[in-house]
Amino acid sequence: MKALSLIVRLFRGAAKIQRKRMILTATAIAWGTVAIILLLSFGEGLKRSLETGRRGLGESIVIIWMGETEKAFAGLPAGRPIRLVPDDVELVLEGVPELASASGEMHNWNVQLVNGRTALNKRVVGVHPAYRDLRTSYAQAGGRYIDELDQRLKRRVVFLGNELAKDLFGKDDPVGKTLLVADTPFTVIGVLQKKKQMSMYGGPDSDRATIPLSTFEAMFGRRYLSNLVYQPTSVAMAPVAKRHLMEVLGAKYRFDPADTRALYFWDTIEDAKMMNAIMIGIEMFLGMIGALTLIIGGVGVANIMFAAVTHRTREIGVQMALGARRVYITGSIVLESVALTFAGGVAGIGIGVAVVQALAAVQARAKSEAMEFLGAPTISIPIAVTTVTLLGLIGLAAGYFPARRAASVQPADALRFE
């Protein structure tokens, strides 16, 4: 213990002789640390915000739109439109074991909704009950989503998007009230829970009315689905599910299962993978910028240590004459370098955390969409570990080269140094 404290003291004076320079360098390190913490925690916040936004559409789902055949098949010409009907949902659920659930979807984008004196023209969608879980469309307390019975009995019930409910009913609770949908009275059974939805098709879920698919067919006289939504049993099974689905539908409608134009797939699983890759890229980029700032600080530390080594050459020579092995010479220099780096780093971490928390508080109160999209800056354990590791590495590197120079001089030369 005494040994260590003595070793430390042998070199401690080094920083003292150039206090001003030391403060500057510690500041540079602190600034680099703040930069890296801010950049990484904004990246983390953005990542989390994008993730919840993506979940707003639904988790690991695939959406199919109808297309036209591109290849001739079984004597049939190319260019045939493929139209799916509601019964196809049951067909694929039975024929494709890799499907966890599926729902048909029909859209009418201009339907008059009337509540008393308020009349709005909005999109109305008909869906199967499975749609609730597929598209994360959960009801607020006191309400419910469309269920099997509604579907079977073609009930005239309607589930409202939260914004639409506000526009139609104001502050009143719409559940149980009657709403005229295209002049037909419907009972409101639930209102959508507010959710962050970043990707969408056919407008935001918050601004539309949803009714049972069977009711929709009867009311608007539709035969064909606008699209079909399904979820595979697992992410890993997604490609198999897609292939089987093409085979089952291809057999019914007589198209080549390899015909990519017959049906269009929007695979959110693939999207999620890509998004992840992009986020990793962004985080690495932000991390690099922070690391570069830190490295500049590290160069400052190394310079101080070089100057200190030069200043102390003679004393190093004395230590060598007394029999100091290399580690005694290099150890004290590296220790001081690491200490200097961490002094700046600790200040930087303190400031960085404070700034992140202040910004997160501001962000939580802000109403602007841009701020909401950016997400609250978040400090995670990996960020802390990364920062401290970087600081340590930079301290070591900044001490290593001066230490190596100090230990490599001949004692006689060091002793003669003025």
Binding site: K2, R9, E315, M320, L322, G323, P411, D413
Partner: protein, 245 residues
Amino acid sequence: MFWNGKNGKNGGKSEGNGHHLIDLQGIRKVYDTGAVKVEALRGLDLAVRENEFLAIVGPSGSGKSTLMNIIGCLDTATEGSYRLRGEQVAGLTIDRLAEIRNKRVGFVFQNFNLLPQLTAFENVELPLLFKGTPARQRRERVELLFEQVGLSDRMLHRPVELSGGEMQRVAIARALACEPDIILADEPTGNLDTTSGRDIIGMFEDLWRKGHTLVLITHDPAIARRARRIVNVQDGTVVSDEAVA
């Protein structure tokens, strides 16, 4: 004065005609300062037995300090053979050389070379620390050494708070810390007034009587005559080597 240490260890060996403690043969040292090459030592031979008290004299620039650096393993010869207690020094690793300086050689410099940020006590403790001596033994040894140089009441002072003579006595205590085979002193009285200088030389004589081997570099003929053997170096070679009557 009482010196613990060398008597028993060296008593029998010093008169033997076996290995020399120091054995230099054909030593050349060339300083290469880029443009010019200075040949400080030109094929110098020198042998020193245990318990000798040797003075090295010669004009300024003749190579005395260079010789001392090589003997003390602070520098390496360009050419020639140097054996220290039979061990060939050329080609040893940096850490092995450090170990030799630590355990076998004690240095006393003209400008004392005490570390200013440490107390006198810690300065003397340092070589023991490098050697790896446990804390308790270190403290006992350092206290004993301070008693021997008569500075027990100055142990906790910083070097700046000491006089030149006191600093040199601390330096001698430090040189003795690890019980070295040789004590090398390069102009130890050069920065001292006549009285303190005489004290220091008296101390060296005592050390020699107790069995230590001393190599003393000096300009002063009066001091040189206190030694038992005078080696005269000129232009990097030994020009005369005689015992003092």
